[in-house]
Structures are given as structure tokens and as C-alpha cells.
Amino acid sequence: MIEFFILFSVILDSTGCFLCHSEIRAKYKLSIHYSESVSCSGCHGGNETVLDVKKAHLRDFRGRFTKRDIIEICSKCHSLAEKMAPYGIPFNQKELYMMSTHGKLLFKNKNVPVCSDCHGYHEIYKTQDKMSPVNKTKVSYLCGNCHKTQLENYTKSIHYALVKEGKKNSPTCVDCHGSHGAYPPGYRDIDKICGKCHEEARENFLESPHYRAFLEMGFKECETCHDNHKVEKVNINLWDDKCSSCHSQKEKGFKVKEEIKSLLIETENSYKFAWKWVSKIEKIPLETKDLAERLKEAKEGIINEKGILHTLNVEKIKEIINQYKGVYDDVAHEAINKYKLFQTRYLLIPALWFLIIVTIFVIQEYRKRISKS
């Protein structure tokens, strides 16, 4: 009877290893390697088709691996184009890793991560799987296991907030630093990395007087104003905090900043004013779909165009920002008009009271006549 169960479980799992190593079974069955038929012996060697413990652990069996071994074992398959190409997985991961800062430190530092430190070993999931530690939503915590300060700063950033909201374009550690070939960028490379997404901002920055000044003074490009890991959502205070740290009040730069800042505040106020009126009439409710859409479009437009601020050209900025401010003002004007039109309904109230008082008076007279008769 026992033999029957053993045989049955072996047939079910197509390996005899789990008869003893049952604690690994559940983890392994969730992994991508299980569903793609990578067996235990694929990594550990040995013979998994026999039920005898000694025979199973003969041949080239290895139970535990060193860090170096892990790279070799994984790359046995992951460096082969014919095995990786069908899955669309790059097969140069080992080369990239060896060139990366992690790879260079492999023999010098015990804490340096290898494949299994990030991807796991028995329970390896697809990168897109939310259970995977290298999934977009989790990878920053994975890196943060060692790079704690960077993680702390990153979790305060707008990039992190957007990843949490589910925005796929928002960057995590690997989007800027790379994954297998991870390296810290040089200070002249920052504009290129940020420019991958903020293309317009980069182009405008390269045109601006700041670019040359930064080069001469050895400032880090985007990082000087926006920080690196702790990239906060841009707000109006940034102009005061960052500009004032270099420009004194008498300088031309300071005056330019004041002009741009007041323009931005004015625009933001127009937006808030318009939105206040739209949400006010929405609660009545009046038709606001068109107005809300126009506001939303203008707001998105202005966010997309905010790259123009990096030119620091006041005339150019004014021209573009005023287009959107005009939309805000128009929307506010229309919303106020709609509300005023709605308010005319209030005239019905005194009219009704007048009508009712007159009616009561007439009925009262009629009642008196009836009573007399």
C-alpha cells in the first residue's frame, strides 16, 4: 500500500525528491521553473527518478551552492540564446552582471547580491507576477534591503507615489540604474537618464543659461534642483528653496525667478477659482461635463508644457502659460454664468409665497361668507 502511494506521488510530481524534501514542494510548484519543466536535478544534479536515497544523491549532486556557483548554474540556461529566445528573455544577463558594480564586487564583498538574492531560488516567479520580488511594485524594497538610505529617500518621491498608484511609466530603481547591469550614474549622465522620460525638459535645459553655468561650476544637472532619489512633486516653493540658494536678490536670475513664480501662482489661482465654481455648480447639479473636461485638458496640457520652464525664457513661458490660463478664466466665467442663470429660480419662491397668501386671503373671505349664510 505504502509503495503504491510513493509511486503515485512520484508520478504526480514526476520527481522523487519531494518524498523527503516536502517543505520545498509547495514553494517550487508556484515557480515559473515548475511550469516550464525545469526539474530539481536541472540545478542540483543527482538522479531524481530513483527512490533510493543514496542513489538519488550520487552523480554530480550538490545540495548547497556558493554565490559564484549560483551565477554559473543560472547562466547554464540563461546564457543560451536557443533556450531564452522563445521566452523573449535576454541571454546576456551574466555578462551584464559581471560588468555591473555588483559583479565587480562579487569576490570582494560577502553581501553582494547574486541571482537568487533578488529572484529567489525555489519559488521563482515571472517578473510581471505581483508575487515576484523583482516586480515593479516591489523591486524598490528589494534594492532597499541593502541600499536603505536610498530607499528611504525614494519612498518620499513622486516617482514612488506614482508607482503605487499603478502608473507603469513611473520609474523604480532599475529604470534609472539598470537591473543586471546596475551601476551608479556619473554626474554628467543625470540629464540623459532623466531625459529618457522628461525629454522636453532636458532639451529646454540644454538651451538654458543654467546648462553652461552648471558645467562650469560642476553642479549635477537635474539633481541640483530636483534631488535624485527624493524627487518631490514640483510645487511653487521649489522656486524659493532652490533658486535662492545660488542667486542673491540683486541678481538678474532672482528677478527672472520672481517673474516666473508670480506667473505660475496667478495661473494656479485661476485654476483653483475655476475648479471651485465648477465643483460648486456640479453639486446642484448642473451640467459640467464639458467644463470639467476643458479644465482637465488644460491642466494636463500645462503639465506637459512645464518643460518649457527649464528654458528660463520669461517671454516664451508667458506666451505658453497664458494660453492655458485663458482656458481657466473662460471656464470660470461660464460656470459663474450658469450659476447666475440657476439663481433666477429663486424668484419662484417669493412668487409662490405671494400666490399662497393671496389664495388664503380669498378663501378666508369665501369662508366668512359661507359662515354668514
Binding site: K283, E287, I360, I363, R367
Partner: protein, 362 residues
Amino acid sequence: MSFWEKVVNFFEKRISLNELLSFITSLGIFYTPICHNKPVKEAIKDAMETPSPSYARWPYILGILTFILFIFQIVTGLLLLFYYIPSKEGAYVSTVSIIRDKPFGFFIFNIHHWSAILLLSVIISRLIRFAYHKVFSPPREIFWIIAYFLFLFIAFAYVTGSVLPMDAEAGWVSYRLFEIIYPIPIVGKLYKVFLGAGNLNDTFILRSYVFHVVIIPLIIFFLFYVHFLSVRKVGLSFGKYEGKSVFPGYFFEILFIIFITFAVLFTLAGIFPREIFAPFLEYKNYTGFNVPFVFLFFDFLRTNLSIFIYSILGFLLLLIPIFLPWIDKTPPIPLIKKPFTFVIYSLFFLVILFISIMEYIR
């Protein structure tokens, strides 16, 4: 013989018009009995000439106001019924469409809203007045019990109605009400059986809708009817009839009350309309809303007591008033002349009022 007399004669020979008239007037219009043996014309004449007390003064107006406000609810509710769609997607869209696009939809919706608030306030005031004037003394126990059940069913109508617009406030309120009502034994289980486990799905809205527009109004009409049957048997609690007949005195007074109530409701609806918020999203955190005012006290108990004590206390608070006529058997004199009972009653009502106000402000 005029045309109308001919019509009346035709029907009188074929159906019992007196009984029909008696039934209709028993739904809350006037309490005077209609004689079943006389011809209908004479029976009406007799009824009209019967002396009737003046309702148009405090606090006797509360009873007739309950009926008038209820009729306003029926009329405006019927108008809303034509365009309302009881489904998760349709509810919000149709509510907005009624208010915004349909002729006088704004006023009809908001009169319905304000009339509900006033109806609930009036029925609560009426209960308090019944308690202070000891209207529940024998043989008028039925008056009190019916008034109390009217209060419960009107509150239930308020609950089911507040869910129907399906905007953020309605969704939030429906979840909170489930939390308040569910722990109370029997009532909570009934609520769950009939309205579901607080999930805002299509069937929940449909069930609330059926309760709000069919079942509860029928029950309320039935309660009015039974109340009038009782009044016709044992007479009104205030016996000082001023010699005015039902017509023209009583009728015109009621007409004036209807006009003024309508004007007040119209004004409230115009100046303080119910705000319509964005559609309800289940996984969003909402703040700044309050539960309906009758539940503020229960909400306070729920948040400050353990769930076990709350369930027992809540159940007793709902149950004990039904048996008040048998608990308080003191002679039927106004409470103001009995300081001890007066203080106890006043403390009870004041504590509830104070806690409700504090909860509302918080």
C-alpha cells in the same frame, strides 16, 4: 335632478359609497365617523356638521402635519418614480437627470428630501408630546403604539430613501447604517435578510427601492387607518371642541396648513437643496458626511460602547417604548404637574438631543 346627483344615485344603488367614503377619510383625512345606514348625501352632511376641534394650533397640529407631509412624500415620490432607475449604474445618472433636466425636477427632488426630514422631525415631536401629555393612558394605548411604529417605519423609509441617489453621501450612509443597525438583535438580522449585508449592488438598491416605494408606504397607510379606527372608537385625547363644524372650519384650516407647508417646503428646497456628490466609489475613503440625524445617538453608542453592550442597549431602547403604556401607569394628568416624572422624561430626551447635536458637530 342634476347630472352629478344622477351619477351619485347610479353608484349608490350599486356600491356602498358610505363604506368607501369611511375608508378614504380613515386614511388620515378626518376622524368623524360616517354613518353607514343613511344615504351618502345625508351621511356626508351629518359628518360635515359634526363639531370638530381645531387642529391648527400647537401641539395638535403635529398629527395632521404628519399626514400632510406624508401626502407630499407620496405625490413628489410618484413624480420621481417616473424617471428613477433602481440599479447601481442607473441610480446616480437618473437622479442627476431628474434634478437637472426634468421640468421642476430640482424642486420635486428637494421637496421630497426636505419633506422627509420634516416628517421625521414632526413624528418625533409628536412622540414627545404624547409622552408629556400622557396620551398613552387607557384607553388610548393604541395611539402611542401606532405613533411609535409610524416613527420606526418613517425612519426606515428615510434609511432606504437615503441610499437611492447612490452618490458618495448615499453610499457612505448606507455602509454606516448597516454598521449601526446590524449589531442590534432581531432588527439587525431582519435588516440583513431584507436589505443584504451592506453590499452596494444592484439587488440591494432594488430591495431598498421596493421597501421605499411600495411596502413602507402601504404599512404607513395601514397604521393611519388603524389609528383612525381607534379615534372613532375612543375619541380624541383633547376633548374641548369649540363648536366648529368639520366644514367649513376644519376643512379650510387644513387647506391653509397644506398651502403653508407647501410654501415652506418649496422655500427650504430652493434655498438649501441637497448637494449631489460624485458617484460612490467603494474603495475610496470618504470624510465629512453624517449619518441621518435619528441615528446620531445610536452611532454615538456604537462608537463608545463595546459591541455586546451596544447591541443589548440598542435593542432595549427600541423595545421599551412599545410597552410604555403598561410601564407608566400613573394617572393621565399633564407631566408638568408631576415634577419627578417630568424630570426623568426631560432628562431622557435632552440627553439624546445633546448627544445627537454633539455628534453632528463632531
